[in-house]
């Protein structure tokens, strides 16, 4: 079973994404912030098919998290999707330059998430 990492400081979003991704056939590992996400990565030995991360998080924001994830050789090829309300062009470009592969605006639906995952080659 494919495994997905979901990183968001909002428990609501973690629950919603977990349900959506579980329905799509993923085993989901949630994390409430960037530091916890890195701990989860180490615990799971980087064995993820996809990573979904919020932008605005305390202590380590999404951009910094993406940079840290991309510096881990185990995750160099894992698709990363930012889930956020940020639309400002510079923010979007910064995320993509840091190594994020896709960008999804809140609010989102399960169909949107599924379409994005198919575009990334994670879902058939």
């Amino acid at each position: 079973m494919s495994k997905a990492l979901v990183v968001d400081d909002s428990r609501t979003i973690r629950i919603i994404l977990t349900k959506m991704l579980t329905d799509l056939g993923f085993e989901v590992c949630p994390a409430a912030d960037g530091k916890e996400a890195l701990d989860v990565v180490n615990r799971e030995q980087g064995n993820f098919s996809a990573i979904m991360a919020d932008w605005n998080m305390p202590e380590m924001n999404g951009l910094e998290l993406v940079k840290q994830l991309r510096s881990d050789p185990r995750l160099s090829a894992v698709p990363i999707m930012m889930i956020t309300t940020e639309t400002e062009t510079r923010q979007v470009m910064a995320a993509l330059e840091a190594g994020a592969n896709e960008y999804v605006m809140k609010p989102f639906s399960r169909d949107i998430i599924a379409d994005k995952l198919r575009l990334l080659g994670v879902l058939e």
Binding site: D9, S10, R11, T12, I13, I15, I16, K19, N56, P58, T84, T85, E86, T87, E88, R90, M105, K106, P107, F108, S109
Partner: protein, 153 residues
């Protein structure tokens, strides 16, 4: 995400913070070349209903999960408004939401600001979305250069 039918009301404008609440209220700050606050307000019953739609479970009381859901809804709504108005007022940062529940609450925002309030009806329930924005007051040149030195530091 909520799958709710809602009807927007006409916007109303009020000076001073519309400060009396009886239910759940959530605020988020915005800062850039313009400064402001956005927020949502609804009664506890509707807050539980919204959280229930988000999380597909029932909430008999307004607990931490309900407050988190309302906070996230605030983040989504005000965040999207911010994304639209940034085209006119420039980039702004959004704070993390603060959500409060209580009866007979009175809140006050510093300064005399013009608030825009839009009520959304969902059957018998109502959600107020409110926001105010003011341009950041430019400092005089000496203060501005001092501010820039601190920013660069």
């Amino acid at each position: 995400m909520l799958n709710m039918e809602i009807e927007p009301g006409a916007p109303i404008f009020e000076h001073d913070f519309p400060g009396h609440f009886d239910g759940v209220v959530s605020f988020v700050g915005m800062a850039g070349e313009w400064l402001g606050t956005g927020g949502l307000c609804c009664n506890p019953s509707f807050a539980r209903r919204i959280a229930g739609c988000f999380l597909m479970m029932d909430f008999p009381t307004v607990d931490d999960d309900v407050l988190d859901a309302i906070g996230e809804l605030t983040n989504i709504i005000i965040g999207n408004v911010k994304g639209t108005i940034e085209q006119s007022v420039g980039p702004m940062a959004l704070s993390t939401p603060t959500c409060i529940v209580g009866q007979d609450l009175t809140a006050r925002s510093l300064g005399r600001n013009r608030w825009t309030i839009v009520s959304f009806r969902c059957g018998e329930d109502k959600l107020d979305v409110m926001m105010h924005l003011v341009p950041r007051v430019p400092l005089d040149r000496e203060s501005e250069s001092r501010r820039r030195m601190l920013v660069d530091f």
